[in-house]
Structure formats: C-alpha cells, structure tokens
Symmetry: C2
Subunit: 439 residues, 2 copies
Amino acid sequence: MIDVDTLIHARWIIPVIPHSTTLEHHCLVVDKGRIIDLLPIQNAEQKYTGKIVEKLENHALIPGLINSHTHVPMNLMRGIADDLPLMEWLEKHIWPLEQKWMSEEFVRDGTDLAIAEMLRGGTTCFNDMYFFPEVTAHQAIKHGIRAKVGLILIDFPSAWAENSDMYLEKGLALHQSLLDQPLVSTAFAPHAPYTVSDDPLKKIRIFADQLNIPIHMHVHETEFEVHQQQQQTSQTPLERLDKLGLLTPSFIAVHMTQFSDKEIAHYATTGAHIVHCPESNLKLGSGFCPISLALAAGINVALGTDGAASNNDLDMFGEMRTAALLAKGVTGNASSIPAMTALKMATLNGAKALGLENETGSLSIGKAADVVAINLDELETQPLYDVVSHIVYACSRQQVTDVWVAGKQLLKQRQLTTLDVVELKAKLPKWQQRLAAFN
Amino acid sequence: MIDVDTLIHARWIIPVIPHSTTLEHHCLVVDKGRIIDLLPIQNAEQKYTGKIVEKLENHALIPGLINSHTHVPMNLMRGIADDLPLMEWLEKHIWPLEQKWMSEEFVRDGTDLAIAEMLRGGTTCFNDMYFFPEVTAHQAIKHGIRAKVGLILIDFPSAWAENSDMYLEKGLALHQSLLDQPLVSTAFAPHAPYTVSDDPLKKIRIFADQLNIPIHMHVHETEFEVHQQQQQTSQTPLERLDKLGLLTPSFIAVHMTQFSDKEIAHYATTGAHIVHCPESNLKLGSGFCPISLALAAGINVALGTDGAASNNDLDMFGEMRTAALLAKGVTGNASSIPAMTALKMATLNGAKALGLENETGSLSIGKAADVVAINLDELETQPLYDVVSHIVYACSRQQVTDVWVAGKQLLKQRQLTTLDVVELKAKLPKWQQRLAAFN
C-alpha cells in the first residue's frame, strides 16, 4: 500500500482530458499537492492509503474553474450602477468612484470578497486586471487561491502610478517579487487599445518576450471603440495590435464582440487567445463575440465573468450556462457550444490562455490538484441522465461543496478554510456607505 | 390592538405596485390568507398582534414569482436530450418518450418534482400545459401552490385523449370540477397553430368567451413554423389566429420569436398577452422575442421557463436575469429591461396574463398573501446598493428562505411544509432508469 495525502472517491469524475469522458465510481489520488493517480475506487482501495479519505457518493468532481477575466476589487461596486451603456457607466460612475476611493484598503477588501465568492462557487484560478496588483497578489497568496495578477498599465495617472513608465516599473518589480510563488504569477495588463499608446505597448511586447509573461487586454469590446479608432487612424484596434507585434500565443484578447470572418481567420494563425465574457457583454449591450466561429477556426476561447460591477457576480456556473445558451441563440443552431464545450472553456481553455496548462485545467496525472466537488443530489439536478448537462444547464454554484487548490482544501462542506467570513462581512458596510454617498 | 394571523417584518419590501418602490423596515400584515396592511414596523407593533411574527432582518419580500409557461411533468426529462434543435428534439426524443411513458403516474411524479423545485425557488404560481391536467391540478391543490392548469388540446391522439372532441370534453369536465377551488383554475391550452386545426380552435374561442377562461398557446416559436404555414396557406399563424377571433385580452401567446413591428402594433390593439421564455428560446436556437419593442407598444409581457427538458430548470431568478441581459444584448441598449421591469414581468405581468391580477402579482392590500422572502445577507449579494438590482442580477434562488401562498407557509427556512422530499426523491430513480433505457 502506498501512503498518500488525500483520496477523493466520487460518484462521477469529469477529467476534461480526455474530452467528453465521465468516469464513474473513480478515485482521485492526491499527494504533495498533485494528482498522482485516477482509477476505479476498488483498485484505489487496494493500492493507496490516504491520510484523508473523502467519500463523495452523490458528487461530481471537475477541474477547478478558471475565471479568465476579472477585476476582483470591483466586487465592492457590485450593483452600484446598472442598466447603463459602457461609456456612461465607466465615465459617470466607475471612474469617478475609483478616482475617489482607490486605495490599498479598497483593493484588499474587494479582493477578499471576490476570493470568498469565487471559492464558494468552484473557481480556483482567476486572471485579474486592476490597480494595486501587489495587494491582490498578497491576498491570493494568503488565501491559497491560484491567480494571474495583471500588471496594469493605462496612459492616465491613478492612485497607483503616475505615468506609463511608473506603471511598467512597478509591474516589473511585482513580477520579480512573485517569482518564487507556486500559485500566483503575473500577466501584463495594458487596459485597452483606446487607453494605452504605442510606446508602452512596444515595451510590454519586449518584456513579455524576455520574461515569458502573457499579455491580458480588453480588445474590441464595443463597435464604438472599433469605429472610433478606424476613423482616427484608418486601422482597427486589432490591426494596430498586430502591427505592434502583440498577437502571439502569449496574447489574451478579452471581449472581441467585433470579430469579422477575415479577422478570425488571421487571428487563428497567430496562436493568440480569446476570453469570452457573455454576461458582461450582454449587460453593457456591447455585442456578441462569435465564439462558435472562433472555436471552429481553431482559436482557444476561454471564459470570464468580468468584474462584479458589470455582471453582477463571479459565478462561472452561470457564465458557462450563458455562454452555451447565447451561442445557440446567436447562431440559431441548438447544437452550438454543447455542455462539454462550455465546461472545457471554463477549465482547460482558461489554463491554456493563461499559460498554465501544465499545472491546471484538467484532472490529469501530474497536474496540481485543483479540484471542485459538486453535489448533484439536490432536487434541482434530479433525475440525472447526463452529468455534464446538469453541471452546465441545471446546477447552481451553491451545489459546490468542496474545493481544493494544489491539494489544499479551501472549501470544506461549504465552509471556507482560509477566510473568515464574519470578519470579511464586517468590513463591507463601511464601503457601502462611502461609495453610495459619493455615487 | 387587532389580532391577525401573521406579521412579516422585513428589512426591505418591494410591493411591485407602486412601480420602483422599495420600502424599508416595513411589516406585511396577513389575515385569512390576504394582505390586510403594509406599514412601517413601528406602526405595526402599535396596531397589530400576530399569531405568528416573522422577523426577517436581512431579507427582502417580493410578490410570489409567477412562471407563466410550464410543462411541469417534463421535469422527469430534465437534461435527457440537449443541444438539439426544436423539431429534432421533439420528434426524435420528447414525443417518442411521451408516447411510451405518458401516464397518470408520470404526470403525478413529474408535477411533484416541479412543484418542489418551484417553491424552493420562490415561484408561487404556474401556468401549465400538459396531458393529464387533472393530475397536475390535484397535486397543485394537495401541495397548496397556485396554478392555471391547461386544458390541453392537440390534433393527435395521446394517452389522455383520442381526438379533439375528447380533449375538449375532458378539459371542460376538469374546468367544471375546479370551479370551487380557490387556488387552482384553468386555461384552454391548444398546443400550437401547427398542431391544432380550425374547428377545435373555433370551439375553444366560444367556450373561452362563455366561461371566461384564458387561452394559452405556443405561437411563432420558430421562423420555420411561420414560413411553413405561410407557404402552405399564404398567411402567418398569427394572422390565422386573428381571423379565428382568438386575439383578445384572454389570449396568451408564448414565445413569439417572430414578431414584426407591424404585428406588434396590431397585437397591442387586441389586448392579448405575450409570455417570453428567453432560456428555452436560446437553448433550442429558436430566436429572440423583441420584448423591448412589445413592452414599448403597450403589450403585457410575462415571463416563463418553459419545461425543464428545454431549459433545464424552473428557476425564475435565472429567467429574470436572462430576460434583462438578453434584451440589452439584442437591442444594443444597456438601458433595456432594467431590473425592476424584469421583476415586474415575473410577478404583476404574469398575474395580468393569467387574469389573476386581483388575486396576486403584487404585495397590495386586498390581494392574496403570495409572498417570497429572500436572504440578501450572503456574500454573493454584498455590499448592497440597490435591492432590486441584487434580486435580478446577483441573487440565486437558493437565497429564497420562506414562501407563502394565500397566507399559508409552504417553505419555511428552506424546508418544504407540504411535500416530503425524501419520499419524492425515492420515486425518481425508477423514472431515470425507464426513460434513459428508452431514449
């Protein structure tokens, strides 16, 4: 018998690799934070002894969900300004609020709220873009969640940095300071084509190559953004980024609601990734990203919620469902984005986009044990014919019972193990009062 | 002091009438099943003594949600055939399964599962269309939920009736038998223009007038349906229904994904209603009902989930969110269908469509006490700036804690009071095995 840290027996396991496979009565064997085996329960009982043995008789295990586009501190602004178009929402509400309240404290409390929400909903990794990223990194490390922290860069001064050189300098220092962290690493995060000029983008391109860091950017979020730049410069934002040499397998374009057949064909040749944020795009009336066409062209498409101020949650179950339903509506083809594809977008495709596919994104031997257990025994997921269908089309995130990141249990029977919910909640009325008074 | 049955103190109350009103620290006073007062808590404490006093300090009260289009027994087929277009889904899966398994027992168990799911999710009234409606009516009465049971009629024989005369006869007998029921009444439910011929529709028109019964029908669900009939008869299904005299304030057209500006303008003059089923329309790739235009034209638009086989849940919180988000996406206008409009569609507009606006749909003095309490103290709905925003955009149905129908508490701290969940669950594996083996 081999001694290991944890054995997780489950009624169903969806490893994501291989595709469309649902294992029944299998055991995930975890040791030193990694998946070391995946085999039928009866075989596991003859081969392994676990310090901890979880028997999840009504549960499905899936890889930890990866939220590939977040602004986690914005959780403090959840629902503060709804039913408004993107530019009015940004210019009249979000930016003035940020101008007034942005601080380390704001970022710390907002990040904690978001991490608690994400873990309770089965998200084990997030790809963030916000100011004070060193605070977000610190909180992610503290609570044990996996993260790509964005090295934000924008042409305008903020409470965090005065100019693009200072953004870059602080970002590179943060990158350096995180090099020995197993779970938290960085991506460059130039905000958007319309807020970042050529010079800092060229520098980012060079550093990204040298340091092997992904570049995470809002691109073609609205038709307005594309037309405005076309009128000003006779090229689309995507053409500009291409000329600047940014479209490589390290590039992650978020939104892409404006994406022609020709652009899709070219983008596919670059190896760059797309993050689809269907609920935010709907809520801001921004348009539809043609993900069925993008996937068919071979582009890797991941999934994100965007910030809680434009969603208004960080619920990757809801996001999978919306992505699968919306693709069918937009194409008129009910076979578009079947449930398994939606689950893959929310796991493996996210890992690929973030350059983490060797670490996470599937329940594969050798990868980190980023694992989510879902109780399917609720009335809302009965009867059960197809586990993946229920996870995408019927399940809610409240059915997540247990979550592990790199083998460490962060949610245990719906209780967070590294975050004090009472203490966290006590910090929120202060922000509610401050922000509401100013809005 | 006046003695009453129940006082419900709540942090927030959204009565829906008047529109866009959120009361704080108010008390809903319930006696003999009806709302008899709604006033500040401090005033209520001086005026009323309740046999039961509920103090809901972190909760919002809303009117019970009205699911205006269901096929409740289809809960037994949740997730049995996904990612397929409407006609293939119907002809190759749903209809053969129904042909094989339709029975009183099927309808009873499926209805119980659906009622349990609806009550746990804050739905207090549903408008159903299915075979063996007397069984659905019986179960609704047994469990205390409000319902409009559809007197199904279709040109084809089924396990319930052999021909249109027999459907009509059995339907009228059921209508007669329910006349003294306070919570359960009927609507005619001719299935769809493409499955019901003129003769039975003319009879239904006459009986509906005489007996004052609404008519509930699938109309213009897909472009295919409209084009096919146009080719065969040179008129659209809607034109045909209009010529048959069906478009009156008693008519409820479900789906309407094909609805031109001209049709909208005419439909508005008839006083007939629309039920929007956004998730089912998306899932089957059926198209988008132009609800923003319909509402602007003065048409009453209610909200429904459709059956759990094409959704795959009966979650009116999800449906409100999808309706609000999708409308913004389709129009490109982020101000379309604000949160309060979505809540109104799911409550008052449903009551109007079903002819129940004097009984339910708002927390108004004189109406039945159909009430839902939502706990907003979860991390997922913090901080809180706008209660209605959170109910529509951030809340999940699991945050529903208590539900009353006509003053009787059917969900108490998330426990059903009239349904035995253990007994219900024990009946489901049998159906799972039968249906999976045949599919």
